[in-house]
Structures are given as structure tokens and as C-alpha cells.
Amino acid sequence: MKRNIISLGLLTACASLILATASCTKKDTPEPNNTQQPSGIEVRTITSLEANEKVYLNLTTGNTVAASELTSTNWDISFYAKDRNITVGVNSGDEGNGTAGAQLVATGFEDLKEAPESGYLPGKEATGDFLKWSSYTGANEPKHAVLPKPGMTIVIRTADGKYSKLQMVSLYQGNPNTSSAGFADLNTRPAFGYFTFRYATQTNGSRTF
């Protein structure tokens, strides 16, 4: 129990250290790695998305949106990871002009068969604070790592009223195995600040996946 105290306390002190290891590398382009849900809905995976500058994604088309369209409703979710700031937001509230919403549901990605009817929050209210959907390991192995919580799914109502579910898979470059020795060693741990996630969007407008 004490370890949680230490972990959260160390978070402030060490976040800069972790992020310092996130050196600049060649920008990875999102590589879709597609599978299907049992219902036939396509599951797309984005690996090692770099977001030193905010990246805006349309969950229906799977395309990122150009800077010129930021005020439009052509995007649903945004990702940002630089220095100590890691935020995920949706196109509404203080994040965009749309009416998208998001909420965290404590169910695994594949087990989540239906999006909640209500409870969607605008902008960064549901997902802005990354510690809501990930945890900091602090002094526990692997030390000083930020790992997405298992069984936590982000459910999004898109800017055009469809429903999408998203699981954050990793925040490290190349989606490394976090129980490996290479990850445990801070000298060989891959760079932090790269989003790997999978998502599935129900395009027919219903809430079932």
C-alpha cells in the first residue's frame, strides 16, 4: 500500500526523467493493423503514433485531419504527448467546435458490446488526465513507467453521433512488452510519448459493437 504513496509522490519528481528519455526520432506514420469484432465491425490498430504536435483523428475514416480543418467536425479525438503533458480529448468543449463526447468504461475492449446511452463528457473532461486511464508504477517494477490500465475502455460518441470504443495499448514507442528486461532497464526502455491504441467504430449509428 505504501508503494502507492511512493509511486504517486515520485510521479511528479520523475515524470520529467521518463519524458527526458523520449528522444526525438523519425516520425512514425500510423500503421493500421486491422482485425474484426465478432459482429463484423472492423478493429483498427494504430501503432506508435507520435504526437509532439496534437494529432486529430477521424474515427470513422481512420484518417488524421489537416490543420486547416481543426475547427470543423471532421475529427473526433485528439492526441498530444510532449514533455509532461499527455492528453487525449474529443471534439467538443475546450478542445473543438464539435459535439463529440467521451467516457471511461471499466470493461475490457472486446467485452464491451454496447456503448452507454449517456454520460459522455466534452473535450478533455473524461480523458484529459492520463492517470484516469493509466497508472504510474513508481518504485514498483517496471519502475517509473506509465502503463494503461487493463480493462479500461474509452467510449466515444463521435462528432457525427456514431459510437466508437478505444483501448489505449501503450505509451511507448513500438508497443514494447512491459514485463521484459529491456523495458525494466531505464537505459534500454523505448521512448515514451507514442500512442498505440486499437479502436472500433459502429458506423450504422447504433450503440452495439
Binding site: G9, G108, N140, E141, P150, N175, T178
Partner: protein, 701 residues
């Protein structure tokens, strides 16, 4: 005749009988039990009155002094490590786990009085030498109805020796690997009115680096020199009035080195740690009439530690901390034997306790009153019912009521069964009540429930609080952790050679104390305090069997199966709400059979012992083995914070110990090897590689 024996017992005093020594008691009682053909073992801990072991309807184990001598043990952890249902664990010293409850929930007594001085909840068993022990009584399951706080997982009562009929004593020297030297001497005599017993021990060791230790600077076991002195004085003013005074002193110095990083430079630090305890217990036994007796006692004890860390290069102080505790218990117990069937025990007491430490705001005093009552009813010749309760009123936390009901039935000479239900509790620790600690490098703050409201208000006035998450005014109503436990056991003894015993147990623990974030400071550091939150259960079965073979060979074996789980986690796992991440970081549901429960609990633990004693050539051999199956280390490899992955376990292990003794008249020679196969586990630094020893003793009488 029977009545006279009872009278004698009454006159000597219930606990006094035990203090007076087992031998004498056996003599006075043997006639009563002659018909059974064996000497009955008498125990005092389970009912706070002396009772034949067979009539105590609770799980009680007795470790005899002769067994302790035979195994060549130096300190209490070595003795307890070989007992079924007791797992010695390492957590700020050697502690015990009983029925799956950790060391915080086990009460250690010396002659019925609690040993104080817990570090992170643990009483380090290496503080207790074994040379002055007559026997150890272990009661498993809660005994809070008699002993109050901490008697939740069980009670271990060390009964010390007393003087013999003639002047007698012994000298003993033993030498172990790592330059470990243990010297002890004892002497005592019981005159007609005056009795005395003195014991002294010096133990020192160079310590060692455990195999596979990561540090070559900090020894795993620090070099130490420790002294223990204890004594007992008794005086019988009249047949109805006797005074017994017990005293104990322990002092130990440890030293070690460690490396620290200060301002990005590496420094060697010299550590010096001292710990000492001191206690004095006068007890007056006053018999009004046969079977009606008062025990008036006052136990005063103190425990102190001091740790001084200095830079090796310039002797400047790096850290200097202390912990000091005193404890005074005044108690009156009255036993009333109505007839051979009914005995009532009543008691009242007061505990005054003080603690002062580097991390506490100021010195603190606690006051506690309690009363207890117990009735033992011999319903039929072979059925015994014992019921009782204790009420504790403490000035720092809510009142406690701890009941107990137990029944035993000796169906025949071969079969007996027993069952009990009891409540146990454990008071909040000093830390949980008093701590006011801010980590200077990281900036978080932990406040005990007593000081929380005031400490947070002060920080608020200083403008250090950014956000309050839980109203500090609501903190402070912390309750003791409590349990309800069930034990059902049976004994099967066909003849004198074979004994088979089993006990099933279940402990439901509620209100376990855990911390939570109360507020966030402007420096982003959190403020934590303590709350009653968790529910835990432990259940299992303990089985013991022993068999006496021809040629003075005796074989015994014990096994415990344990299932210990966090109730909230277990319910969530069963409901399919707990997930883990695989090696590709994708999440999957945890299957309920994968949940391994609480950390550091082995599903199976046990022991095998083979004893051979040769009366013709006066030597004996004892070969013992203890094992435990795999256990969770606290490591989390799959992101869910629970024990559910094979990689989160440490492997089980098995240790073998051998000891041999040979007696030549009054001279005794002994030698042995502990951990014969040099088994190593990083989770128990007290098992270095193979550890041999040799010793010599001289007895006089």
C-alpha cells in the same frame, strides 16, 4: 483426593502453576490422570486458567523445551519456523504468519504478558532467545476475548523456566558459521518459601551477505552483539499468598554500511542501530478459599530503538532517528471454581501506553480500560463448553466487544472433536494514528487519523493546499480492524503410537485499514490518511500426524492448506470485472482460477520431522524439513495490481536441518547443519547457504 488436587492448584495459582513449572505441576496432576496411562499436558493460554490440553476446545499446540533444546535453535524464529501452520516471514525482522494472517495480527506473550515494540507491525522474533523457555503454547484463531488487540490470527505464549527443587542450572556455548557465538548460563532453586531463577545470554555474529545479494556493501544480515538477562523471584508468604516477580532485559547493537547518493555523489554511510527492551512484572496470587483466587499483576515494559547513520568520511550525521514505547498494564483476575463443573473467570485491567518517535509530532499517551469474563462448563463428563467476552474501551478509537464460544467433545479415547467461533480485533497502529511525515525529496505527506484534521488545517493556513478531496473533519473515527473466525477440529488417536489431528479454519476480517488520498498540495504532492476499507478472508485446513515407531524412532508430519484472498478483488474477479494485459499490451479478462489471493501466502506449507533417541548410549538425532509452495512477491507484471500471473510468484522451497546430540554424564555435545542442501531464496535472508554449528553444554544439579 481429587478435591485436594484442585485445592492445591488453587493455592498455587492458575498462571502461577505454569510459572512454577511444568514438572511440579505434572507431579501434582499425574495421579489425576493415571487412569489414562499418559501424563496430560496442561495449557494456560487458551482459557487463562490451567486446563488439560484435551479439555481445551480450541486449536492449541505446545512446543516443549526439550524439543527446542534438541533442534539447536538460538532464537524464537528458528523454533517457530518448524511448526505446522506457522510461516516465518521477513518484514522488518522475522515475523510469523498464522492462518494466513500476517505478523501484525499475532500476539506474542512472555508469561502471559505482551511483548511490545513492533516495527511496521512486526515483532522481530530474533529479539527473543530461547534458552530460558520452558515451553511455548500456541493458540490459533482469535483470542481477543481474553487478550484484546492483536490476538486475531493467534497467540504465542512463551512460558519461561523456574528454579528446580535443588540448586540446578546449565552452561551452554555454541558456535555457528559466520562467526556466530552464543553463550548462555542459567541457575535456579525453589526453596520452601523462596524461589529464584536467573538466565543470561550473549550472542554475537559477523552477519553475512546472502547468496545472490545485489549489494557488496550492505550485509543482508548485519553484524550484531546482543545480551539478554531474565530472572524470576517468588516468595510464598502463606499458603494463600504468593508473590512472583519476573524481569527481563535485552540489548542489541547492530552495525552495517550502505551507499547513498547525495547531490549526485556517492557516499558511504555507517549505520549503527541499538534496540533494547526492559520489563518487570510483579504478580500477587491470593487464594481466598479453595478454587477462589485473585491474581493481581502489574506489567511495565519499555522498548527503544535508535538508528544513527553517519558519513564514513567525515563522521557527520546523515540521519538520526529513534522510537520509544512504554507500556503499563495493571490487571486483576479472579477465578471462581463453583464445583468440578463450573469455573468462572473475571478480569479488569487498565493499559497506559506511551510512544515517542522522530516521525511523531510529540510524545503521545494512550489509555485503555478493559474487562473480560469467561465461563467454563463441563456439561457432561466429556463435553466442555467455554464462553466469554472482553470489552475494550480506548481513548483513541471506537470501543470493542470481542466474544468467543467454544465446545469440545471427547467422544472416546480415540476420537474427539471441537469447534469454536470467536471475534478478534487489532487496534490501529501508532503510525495510523499519529504519523505526520512529509517526504523531503518527493513532497508527499502522510498523516495519522488523530493528527489529520489539525495538520491539514495548518497546511491550509499556510496556503499549501490546492484541493481537498475528503473533508478532514470526517477523518478520525477510525475503528479497529476486526474479525470473526470459525475453527472446527478433530483428533484421532488409536492407541499410543499414532496421533492424527486436523483443524479447519475460516477468518473473515473487516475494516482493514488502508490509506487514501485526502488532499493535493500546491507542490502536486498528495496528502494521505488512513481509512477502514478492505475485507479479507483466509481459510484452510491444518493437519498434523505423528507416529511412534519401534527403536525410539518418531516420525511426524504437518501440512497446511491456505486460501487467503481480498474479498473485494475476489468478487470483482468472479464477476469478470478484472483484466490483465498480455505481452502485446492487449487486455483480457482474468479467469477466477488465476487469482492467487494475498501476497506472501503459500497455498501449501508443511514439515516433516524424524527423531531418534538412543537411551543406551545417550544420544539423539533430529532430522527436520520445512517447505512452502510458491507465493506472491508483490511484483505485478501485467498491470492489474493483483496476483494472477505465474511470473508474479516466487518459487517454493524446502529446507532440511539436522542436529545430533550426545551426553556424557553432565556434559552435552551437540552439532548440526541447518539448510543441508544450501537452498537459497532471496525472500528469506535468514537462510544463507549451509549453516553448520557445534556446541557444548554442562548441566549441574
Amino acid at each position: 483426593m481429587q478435591f485436594q488436587i484442585k485445592t492445591c492448584l488453587g493455592a498455587i495459582g492458575l498462571i502461577a502453576c505454569t510459572l512454577q513449572g511444568y514438572g511440579q505441576l505434572k507431579d501434582s496432576l499425574s495421579s489425576e490422570y493415571l487412569e489414562t496411562g499418559t501424563l496430560e499436558e496442561i495449557v494456560t493460554t487458551a482459557t487463562r486458567t490451567e486446563q488439560a490440553l484435551k479439555n481445551v476446545p480450541m486449536p492449541v499446540t505446545v512446543i516443549k523445551g526439550t524439543d527446542i533444546q534438541r533442534m539447536g535453535a538460538l532464537r524464537l524464529n528458528e523454533v517457530l519456523a518448524e511448526q505446522t501452520g506457522i510461516q516465518v516471514i521477513q518484514d522488518h525482522g522475522s515475523g510469523v504468519q498464522m492462518q494466513g494472517l500476517s505478523t501484525d495480527y499475532v500476539l506474542i506473550l512472555i508469561d502471559g504478558e505482551p511483548v511490545i515494540g513492533r516495527t511496521k507491525g512486526n515483532i522481530d522474533l530474533t529479539r527473543l532467545v530461547v534458552g530460558n523457555i520452558d515451553r511455548i503454547e500456541i493458540v490459533k484463531g482469535p483470542s481477543s476475548s481474553l487478550f484484546g488487540s492483536e490476538a486475531m490470527g493467534g497467540v504465542i505464549n512463551i512460558i519461561t523456566k523456574k528454579g528446580g527443587e535443588t540448586l540446578s542450572g546449565s552452561l551452554r556455548a555454541r558456535y555457528r558459521r559466520y562467526n556466530t557465538l552464543d553463550l548462555s548460563a542459567e541457575a535456579g532453586r525453589q526453596h520452601r518459601k523462596l524461589g529464584w531463577y536467573v538466565f543470561g545470554n550473549r550472542m554475537s555474529s559477523d552477519g553475512y551477505f546472502a547468496k545472490g545479494a545485489t549489494s557488496s556493501i550492505t550485509k543482508t544480515i548485519a553484524p550484531f552483539t546482543g545480551y539478554t538477562a531474565s530472572g524470576k523471584l517468588s516468595y510464598r508468604f502463606s499458603p494463600s499468598l504468593e508473590l512472583i516477580v519476573n524481569a527481563r532485559f535485552f540489548n542489541e547493537d547492530q552495525h552495517n554500511r550502505k551507499q547513498v547518493e547525495v547531490n549526485a555523489a556517492s557516499h558511504l554511510i555507517r549505520e549503527q542501530t541499538n534496540r533494547k527492551d526492559l520489563s518487570l512484572t510483579p504478580t500477587l496470587y491470593w487464594t481466598l478459599a479453595p478454587g477462589k483466587r485473585f491474581q493481581i499483576r502489574n506489567y511495565i515494559t519499555s522498548f527503544r530503538t535508535r538508528s544513527l547513520y553517519e558519513y564514513q568520511h567525515n563522521n557527520e550525521v546523515y540521519d538520526d532517528s529513534y522510537f520509544s514505547q512504554f507500556f503499563n498494564r495493571s490487571e486483576i483476575q479472579y477465578d471462581h471454581r463453583f464445583n468440578t463443573r463450573h469455573t468462572t473467570t473475571l478480569g479488569v485491567g487498565n493499559i497506559l501506553e506511551g510512544v515517542d518517535a522522530t516521525r511523531y509530532e510529540s510524545s503521545n499517551t494512550f489509555n485503555q480500560f478493559y474487562g473480560f469474563a469467561q465461563h467454563q462448563w463441563q456439561l457432561l463428563q466429556h463435553i466442555n463448553i467455554t464462553g466469554g467476552f472482553r470489552y475494550d474501551k480506548h481513548n483513541q478509537y471506537a470501543d470493542r466487544f470481542s466474544p468467543k464460544l467454544a465446545a469440545g467433545w471427547n467422544i472416546s479415547r480415540t476420537w474427539s472433536i471441537q469447534a469454536s467461533v470467536a471475534g478478534g480485533y487489532k487496534a490501529p497502529t501508532f503510525e495510523q494514528l499519529l504519523l505526520n511525515f512529509t517526504n523531503p525529496t518527493v513532497g508527499y505527506t502522510v498523516v495519522g487519523t488523530n493528527v489529520a484534521a489539525r495538520a491539514i488545517r495548518k497546511l491550509e493556513e499556510e496556503g499549501q493546499i490546492q484541493q481537498i478531496l475528503i473533508d478532514p473533519a470526517t477523518i478520525g473515527a477510525i475503528s479497529a480492524e476486526s474479525s470473526l473466525a470459525y475453527n472446527v477440529g478433530f483428533k484421532f488417536q488409536p492407541g499410543r503410537r499414532l496421533l492424527f489431528q486436523a483443524n479447519l479454519f475460516r477468518n473473515n476480517i473487516t475494516d482493514m485499514i488502508d490509506f487514501n488520498t485526502v488532499a493535493i498540495k500546491t507542490n502536486q504532492g498528495a496528502i494521505y490518511s488512513y481509512f477502514n476499507r478492505n475485507k479479507v478472508f483466509t481459510q484452510g485446513v491444518e493437519v498434523n500426524t505423528s507416529l511412534k515407531l519401534p527403536y525410539d524412532l518418531e516420525v511426524s508430519a504437518g501440512l497446511q492448506y491456505l486460501d487467503a484472498k481480498d474479498a473485494a478483488v475476489w468478487n470483482a474477479v468472479k464477476a469478470g470485472k478484472v483484466y490483465y494485459r498480455d505481452d502485446n499490451n492487449l487486455d483480457h479478462k482474468v479467469v477466477s482460477s488465476d487469482y492467487g489471493g494475498l501476497y506472501n501466502r503459500s497455498r501449501f506449507t508443511g514439515n516433516i520431522k524424524i527423531h531418534y533417541s538412543n537411551t543406551r548410549y545417550d544420544f539423539d538425532i533430529a532430522l527436520r524439513s520445512v517447505f512452502r509452495s510458491r507465493f506472491g512477491t508483490g511484483l505485478d507484471v501485467n498491470g492489474n495490481g493483483i496476483l494472477d500471473d505465474d511470473r508474479e510468484y516466487a518459487s517454493g522451497y524446502q529446507l532440511w536441518n539436522l542436529s545430533v546430540r550426545k551426553f556424557v554424564k553432565k556434559l552435552g555435545l551437540e552439532a548440526g547443519v541447518n539448510n543441508i542442501f544450501s537452498v537459497h531464496t532471496p525472500y528469506d535472508p535468514t537462510t544463507p547457504g549451509l549453516n553448520w554449528y557445534a556446541g557444548i553444554s554442562y548441566k549441574f544439579n
